[in-house]
Symmetry: C2
């Protein structure tokens, strides 16, 4: 939008087409014309079965429908229902709960949690950072509160995590302002599917501790773990949480918990922001200011969503059913990912490093043109600035195996 | 909170006790000790039946439980489901839809809608205004975004709407900044139960038009109509919406719609912000920036809550059932209000002007002390800065009739 009329820009850069919406529309039109079979709609950020229907965990749905009138109707406290917050901690940490002071506050989904992280621990005008391959709304989240987003390179030339770029960006930002906030989307990163390795974490935390030696600096690591339950070994992938013990008091770890993917409750807006600190006072402060921010932004969160998590964790038999259904969809996604990676190898198609998750990325020149070329083949993917985002969450294993050769051909046709 | 540790103040004044929570706790303890009958818990901002149980519309609950898996699970668009937005307009305007350009965007409850109004149409550092008798979270909403709240007198000495104070505050603010935003909580104002009369509206709009003669000024009236369906004649009370036709382009009317009270869905966070403008471009801009703000704050809203409203409005028979249930609870509230007002007259207890709604107000000196005195009598009300807020929504008609004499006695005992 070039000119504002009644609205105030306040740092927003508004406008541009909603690409996901546009391409989804084209995919739907293709399905209407040709049927589901020949069309690969790899644009959707939700798990679809092999027939293209949204997967909803039946165990979760059953709980949702069994709630009491009060569970739907009554206001929850601004900070969230206490039992929910306890179970959110269990859901986040599993058996790797760090020995630290931990507090939690409800939020409408992971986005709401990130919104509060930005509001509470940065100032208007601040720069926040994340990897160059990233989830687009991070930028929106920053701009909506008058902050801006700068990026570091996620991957070095050899395909490994680019710690040097991360460090350079950290130094750069801390030379300009006394706060450093980074969004770390891991494991099963959106959009690449990368998981920070133990060695990557060693590097990130060494840099964090180095920067924290200056007591005037505040280092805030914000972990967006939306896809954690879709890792190859979600139970043990959580081991990195134990790294957040005995951190200096000027290092704060925040974790955005979301029920959207793990419980297929995207539309119910269940989430929370968790705080991990070595200081009781910092954790108490978190609880106070997060409740304030929530009261002044959305007042309180969907009680029924919170109650669903509580019911699941209260009931071991139900929990086992949810776990089993979750494992089933995880295995399906992992098979799709394996099929895509294997076929990409065979087609000599370059991908960014993929481990697990909903998406993978094909870096390429002229992604918009490649995207359009692929549409002629009834393959619908999202063009990012430097490549293609392919949702393996929304297409069958067979289509995952078939897409790489076609993508390779489209890239060759467009870019030579 | 006197000193921030890791968090950034960013204009927040955090701390102090949560009075509602504290007094509710005392009321619950009293009920546990003495039983329900002798205790009047007039602190709760939700409709309770005469036995103190939350009232939930059975028609609404039935719809909620009948939704499809996708209605719960699927993401909604950031701006909201299109059908929901259409029906939200119907629910807001009834038969008094203004001839103007109208746009709507989903929000988590009325609070979320107000959050977006502040974010989109004011700047950090701005002053926003509302009446001195007001809903406490307005201040929180302003502070959370680095704005501040100043108040005008709601009532003149003779008990009428204090237009002179409203005008003085408007001039004062417009002398300091080019934007004027006011939260108008009407009809059935929280906490007094006052409804702006046609004459009051004449005054507010005359001042608005006068101020708008300066093309550099932007006047934004934000209507918080959370209690509109609990007026004496909710159908025709909506006539004031027709006043918002043919306004100058630098006057914007925003309406915060909430499903919390009218549909007893407090915990589901259904809401929307509506825009009324004489300019198509301003309404289009609203749709664009509201979608941006939502994407960058809570991403999208509870799909099931939106779908409930859609189902109700799609089905005339169901709509009639909801209307009938709503009328029943409205009548109950009106009877309680009448009983309180009548008993207050008999006890010579001074109230601010009350018409309808969930609350009424007794202005008094030393409200905290009066509150404590009343607790000895098992009456629990909220102490505001300049009086007592009594929830008639949460106590029976008999208790409404009994409270005024006891309140009068407590005030006399404390203040002489």
């Amino acid at each position: 939008m070039s000119q504002f009329l009644m609205a105030q820009p306040n740092g927003r850069v508004v406008g541009g087409k909603d690409k996901v919406f546009e391409i989804s529309g084209k995919a739907k039109a293709a399905i209407a014309k040709y049927g589901k079979e020949p069309v690969s709609n790899a644009t959707i950020g939700a798990i679809m079965d092999d027939d293209g229907n949204l997967v909803v965990l039946s165990s979760v749905l059953e709980v949702l429908r069994s709630l009491s009138p009060e569970d739907y109707a009554e206001y929850a406290p601004p900070a969230g229902l206490p039992a929910y917050l306890d179970y959110a901690k269990q859901a986040v940490f599993g058996k790797y709960r760090p020995e630290a002071f931990i507090a939690a506050a409800a939020a409408p989904g992971g986005t709401g949690a990130l919104r509060n992280a930005v509001s509470l621990y940065t100032c208007p005008g601040d720069v926040i950072t994340t990897a160059d391959w990233n989830w687009g709304p991070y930028k929106t989240l920053c701009q909506e509160q008058g902050r801006s987003l700068e990026t570091y390179n996620y991957f070095a030339a050899d395909g490994s995590f680019d710690l040097a770029s991360f460090n350079a960006k950290m130094s750069d930002i801390l030379a300009r302002q006394p706060r450093f906030m980074v969004f770390l989307n891991t494991p099963a990163h959106n959009p690449t599917g990368y998981c920070l390795s133990p060695e990557d974490w060693d590097g990130v935390l060494a840099s964090t501790l180095e920067a924290a030696k200056d007591p005037e600096k505040k280092i805030i690591l914000v972990l967006d773990i939306a896809y954690i339950d879709f890792c190859k070994d979600p139970e043990n992938e959580r081991a990195f949480f134990k790294r957040f013990e005995n951190l200096p008091e000027n290092v704060l770890v925040l974790v955005a918990f979301s029920m959207s993917k793990s419980y297929t409750m995207y539309g119910m807006r269940g989430g929370a922001l968790l705080c991990i600190s070595s200081s009781q006072a910092v954790a108490d402060e978190f609880a106070t200011v997060a409740a304030f921010a929530s009261r002044g932004t959305w007042s309180n969160c969907n009680r029924s969503a919170m109650t669903v998590l509580t019911r699941i964790y209260e009931n071991p038999e139900l929990k086992a059913r949810v776990d089993a259904e979750q494992a089933e969809i995880r295995d399906m996604l992992l098979r799709r990912g394996d099929a895509f990676v294997q076929a990409a190898k065979e087609a000599d198609l370059k991908m960014t490093p993929f481990s697990a998750g909903f998406f993978c990325v094909i870096p390429c020149e002229n992604p918009d043109a490649v995207c359009e070329e692929l549409q002629k083949d009834n393959i619908f993917v999202l063009a990012l600035a430097k490549g293609l985002r392919v949702s393996i969450a929304s297409v069958s294993e067979a289509k995952c195996a078939a897409m790489p050769a076609k993508i390779k051909a489209a890239i060759t046709k467009v870019n030579g």
